[in-house]
Amino acid sequence: MNEIKQPVSKTSIIEKRIRMELEAKYGPILDRATAEAVERRELEALKKRQATIERARLKLLRIKDVARLRQKVRREYARGLRDCPENTQKHEGANADSQVKTQTPLMEAYY
């Protein structure tokens, strides 16, 4: 039985060869739908990575802010301790490093 051979166009042979060369060089050539899907996935992944980086950046800023705030609180607290009236009653000896002198309260008295 004779097989009917389909005529092979010259253009399709060239296209085939070019495709093979390109695939050998750059990997399989995808159709448009697959390529778009791959591109979408990559974009999603990129966005996710960017979001993660942004979150990390904000967290770092918050930590820095909190650290600054804590330092401020510590400073205020130390100042409060120094200025606290009961500390003015402490002595200026070796055991007292955070005290300051304040004025003794005065009361009027008549004789």
Binding site: P85, E86, Q89, H91, A94, T104, L106, M107, A109, Y111
Partner: protein
């Protein structure tokens, strides 16, 4: 808990006569030379009021210590009172829980330390009512200008401020409830004896305190002074008796020649003359005599 200093001012009832001025000038001259003074005199001789007046002339705030049996060295320098508790929970990092808890006694300065440190004037009223050994704490303050503190405090000494001055007052030894002052303390102070005010001062004090006219004040003061000078009183009546009598008759609108005035005199003065049955008789006779003479003088 902190020591409060006094800003002393004269009241309307304070009078200044040449007698008082002379006394104050004498006292101030010693104080300005750096010596502490001791105003010694019987009850009602105006020791405390004079001490306040002298202190006012020095122009520094005043710290007052009133002597009594319960005064201890800690009443002068202070001590550890109460507890201070500090509880800190640090949760900065959520996975780490750091807890700090500390509990310690708190030291408070008392009046002598505050006065020495700040250069205030110390008025130590009735110091002979305090046990002599307690007063020993004053010796280095008055002599070496150095106050020694208990070792637990942290600093051992307080250097006495150059403006610090001390005015002591005391009753004579024969008074009840007083101790004999130690020689070491008496040696360091200039003792000014107060024997009571002169007549002019007593009249002015009575007028100022009781708001009575001169004539009334003069009669009352003379009655009291005559009783005092009679030497028959068990307890010497002072200017306080004059003020009491003057206030009593002023408030009740009693005249000097009324029976009510005699009753006021008996109520206030008779207990000073004597107690018991014999005391009552002496009081009656003496009061009758004095009142008769004093009140008849006007007529």
């Amino acid at each position: 808990m902190s020591v409060m200093a006094l800003l002393v001012k004269p009241s309307d009832g304070f009078v200044e006569t040449p007698f008082v001025r002379d006394l104050v000038e004498r006292a101030l001259s010693y104080l300005r030379a750096g010596f502490p003074i001791n105003l010694a005199g019987p009850t009602g001789s105006g020791k405390t009021t004079l001490a306040f007046h002298i202190a006012r002339q020095l122009g520094r705030p005043v710290v007052l210590i009133v002597g009594n049996e319960d005064v201890k060295p800690s009443s002068f320098v202070g001590g550890e009172f109460g507890y201070s508790r500090r509880y800190v929970v640090d949760r900065f990092i959520s996975s780490v829980l750091k807890v700090e808890e500390s509990l310690h006694k708190v030291w408070f300065d008392e009046r002598l330390v505050v006065a020495c440190r700040s250069g205030f004037t110390l008025i130590y009223d009735e110091f002979t009512r305090v046990k002599p050994e307690v007063n020993n704490i004053l010796l280095p303050v008055l002599e070496d200008r150095m106050l020694s503190l208990p070792s637990a405090v942290g600093e051992s000494y307080v250097k006495v401020h150059p403006m610090f001055r001390a005015i002591l007052t005391s009753n004579p030894e024969e008074y009840a409830g007083v101790y004999k002052a130690q020689d070491a303390l008496l040696d360091r102070v200039v003792t000014i004896s107060l024997k009571g005010f002169d007549e002019e001062t007593e009249i002015k004090i009575t007028m100022a305190r009781a708001h009575v006219p001169f004539h009334t004040a003069e009669k009352i003061v003379r009655i009291v002074r005559r009783l005092r000078e009679s030497g028959l009183c068990e307890y010497t009546p002072t200017v306080r008796s004059c003020i009491m009598m003057a206030k009593a008759i002023s408030q009740q609108g009693i005249t000097l020649h009324s029976q009510a005035f005699r009753k006021v005199c008996v109520d206030i003065l008779a207990p000073k003359i004597g107690r018991g049955k014999s005391g009552d008789i002496v009081a009656e006779v003496l009061l009758n005599e004095v009142l008769g003479e004093e009140l008849d003088e006007r007529d």
